[in-house]
Amino acid sequence: MIKAEKLTKIFRTDEVETTALNAVSFEIKEGEFVAIMGPSGCGKSTLLNILGLLDNPTSGTYTFLDHEVSKSNERQRANLRKHNIGFVFQNFNLIDELTVFENVELPLIYLNMANRERRERVNEVLEQMQIAHRAKHFPLQLSGGQQQRVAVARAVIAMPSLILADEPTGNLDSAHGEEVMNLLNELNISGTTIIMVTHSQRDAEYSRRVIRLFDGQIINENIKKSII
């Protein structure tokens, strides 16, 4: 599904040049649950942004679903994103002006799905995420855990083949964090590929493979045998 070859990302300011990723190469197959770990500033989020088509690498190639996308423009990337990738952020990034239902519905709107079909799908996912009773509430009326469940619901609503999660439990207490990790795990079991950036060893335990980054380079790839 994903093939990264010598991915390099360099940030330049007037005086400083920072190499966030340094010739990183790896492959991720469909259905995998991969955790990317490493200390702050090691390039985890930069890698996730490139994998999520939110950013382009400075050099190297990135093949996503057989498309070489490292040089693609925003329009092409947006098109690939909306059909194939779901995002879960540490700070949820829900739109305050929209209700839970409307937030979750948003990706389907951009996929031009018919109104009735859309409603059915949103209700189904909200039920699945056990948040249907909060459908008419606004994000600020929910707890952190509930907000992240809404964010996950929004990430899965368009049935993407890949979910990218950036510190999904970073803003949650341990009980709510576990709830969210269980959700991700269930999604993986049902076939969705998941790539998750985390600091938390506990969250990383849910993954089947851990990629460790240090100073923009992969220092260790660890494939686990057991499934939690």
């Binding site: 989020s45 942004n49 999520g52 939110l54 950013d55 925003e74 329009r75 947006a78 098109n79 994103r81 909306k82 059909h83 995002f87 952020f89 700070n91 990034n93 829900l94 739109i95 305050d96 002006e97 929209l98 409307e102 519905e105 948003l106 990706p107 709107i109 951009y110 996929l111 031009n112 929004r154 368009a158």
Partner: protein, 803 residues
Amino acid sequence: MYLNQLKIACRNIFKHKISSIVNMFGLAIGLASFILILLYVVDELSYDKQHKNADSIYRLVSISDFEGVGEESASAPFPVAPTLMNEYPGMIERVVRIFNFQAPRSLIQLNDKVYNERKLFFADSNFFQMFDYNFIYGDPQIALNEAFAVVITHETALKYFGSENPMGKVFRYEGNFDLKVTGVIENIPSTSHFTWDFMASMSSVKTMFRGKLPETWVWNPCWTYIQLKQDVKQAQLETAFPEFVKKFYYDATKASIRLYLQKLTDIHLFSHLDYEIEPNGNNSYVRILSTIAIFLLIIATINFMNLSTATSGSRTTEIGMKKVIGAEKWQLVIQFLGEALIISFLALVLAILMVEIGLPYFNVLANKQLDLYLFLDPFWFVILILIGIVTGLLSGLYPAFYLSSFQPLRVLKGHFRGSFRSGMARKVLVVIQFTISIGLIISTLTAFDQLHFLRNANLGFNKDAVVFVQVTRNPIIQRFESFKNELLANPDIKAVTSVDDIFGVAHNTHEFRPEGVPEDEWQFYPALVVDHDFVKTFDIQIVAGRDYDRNNKTDAANAMLINEAMVKYMGWGSNENALGKKFKSLGGEERVIGVFKDFNATSLHTAASPFVLNIKEDDRARFFFLKFVAIRIAGNDDKKTLAFIEKTFNQFAPGRPFEYSFLSDELNKQYIEETRLSRFSLGLTILIIFVAGLGLFGLVSYMIAQRNREICIRLTVGAGIKDMFVLFAKEYLWLIVLSNLIAWPVSWIILHRWLENFAYHINLNIGYFVIAALVSVMMTLCIILWRTISAIRSNPLKALRWE
């Protein structure tokens, strides 16, 4: 998708109350002013278009230029119309003359009702074939066929006959002739360059002139309208005019007269000739008002742009997330434009309410009967909707592209900060707003000053405490000396004279042939027919020679007074040299007995030109020419003095309506357009300052809200109100200073040009520039102080905890 966007738009409007109110209210004020001015402009542009042949009807006008002296006349001699018709039947469909004996009033009696009617005219019988009026009674084809037939308006019918059918009823005209009603028309639309209450047949005039209409090619009292045949162009007939003048006009005048055509529908806005039937509008004032209204709308849209981009920080998650899940830039542009359109249309609804409330007051100011029914017409309804759309798009376009260009990655990571470019753009927009506002403050103050100057300028005569009493064809003229003596017996009456026009407002031109000029070269000079004591009544200064002397028997027959401009024009060197110079006139030979200091015989739009004062000896000529008695009163008790004048008038002219006006009021009427323009521009300028201030209020509020944390930290480490005020004032004050620096020279150039339109004008006053600067700076400082104090009043620790 659109429903979703609508929801977000509505919720955003409610969430950001201050910016929504500023945006909507500002846009509504801009739109309301724009709609009001649009109604006014549409009305001004629609004059005379109600006639179905309007596009092929022209008025014949003539320019007589005798080496710089002469007239541009809206009227023509009697024989011109029929002769044109005879000469060019292939080009002309019909010609119509309109005539009123050059009488400002006509005496109309019906049983015991006696009125001085201002709007009585005589017209050729085909008047109603050329011009379209809706007849309630009578047949337009034949209504003016008979001598002494008259068509009246519905309003006139009601005034004299109530609900009775007026057909066949008879009015007594000037106590001598009977006019029979042969038609009644619906009231004339106000959008006509002239309106009338009575239109009588021209054949009546023929009878009054003993069977023959005047055949002179000099006297030009007829407003002459020409309807061209289909496919004949204005220029085709105009090309024939030089030949026509050569063939028919007198040798003495033909070299100096030029005829041309004036489109009927252009008369109201573009014609400012001598002898207009009614004062016309002014195209440049319509343009000025439209420009100010557009400025107001631009300032309101700038508020929208500024606030939308300034408050964009609160929408970063929405924009970023939408982009992450696949929204493309154009989809977001459409969303933000949609929001701008929603606000614009809400503002439009609010604006229509404002217009509905404001229209009655506006109508009084504009002297019009405008209403919103115009927009029920499908064309204008579409225009109204387009105004809403264009305003929405203008307001929303920049914010839409600005907001939709956010990089999702940056904004979702919280790296959003208003870019330098957008901050700079906002500053540029604030400078534009204030440059316009400052320019308008200076312009309005200057316009008021110029108007004040026009009203109070030294005209070369004393206009105060002079009462004009209307005596057209009144027996008083025949017994004028007795009437005058009776008046002068009252110590509150200082001087009495009579004249043919309201002095300082209008005058005629008379033909003269100065000494040394060949026999066949008559010249036409602006002149007033006056009577003894004219100079005394108006406090005119004689600079050489003497005034008319009642005891000098030859004065009435052959003495004339001229002004200094005439001395200069004739090249006589000094005023004294002019004394004794001779002029031939139609009455014989005249001799200059005195030279008077130049005065302004018309409005101050034009400079004083050569001028002649002449008195008439012949009783018939006096009866024909003298139309007003001018009375200088002491001004002790105007009411009592006027009652005395009225009583004396009634003794000498029993049954005649007494009508008077003060000269100063008559003079002020000449500046009615300027007065209106000044009032409009004052109103619009106040609105512009308000809307610009509203925008600044919104911007400052958001700047302070964004810097809440900084304010709190500064306060907790000991900063005071003064420190915070100085901190924020610095951000905006330099923009206002820059606006002043731009507005000043631009205003200077524009106003200098405008003032040059007046022959007499004020010098530009630097004080007004300073006032504009002070108003803009003080307003800015007040807004900043207000918002700073409000921010500081909130508990700093509370604010910090929120952060």
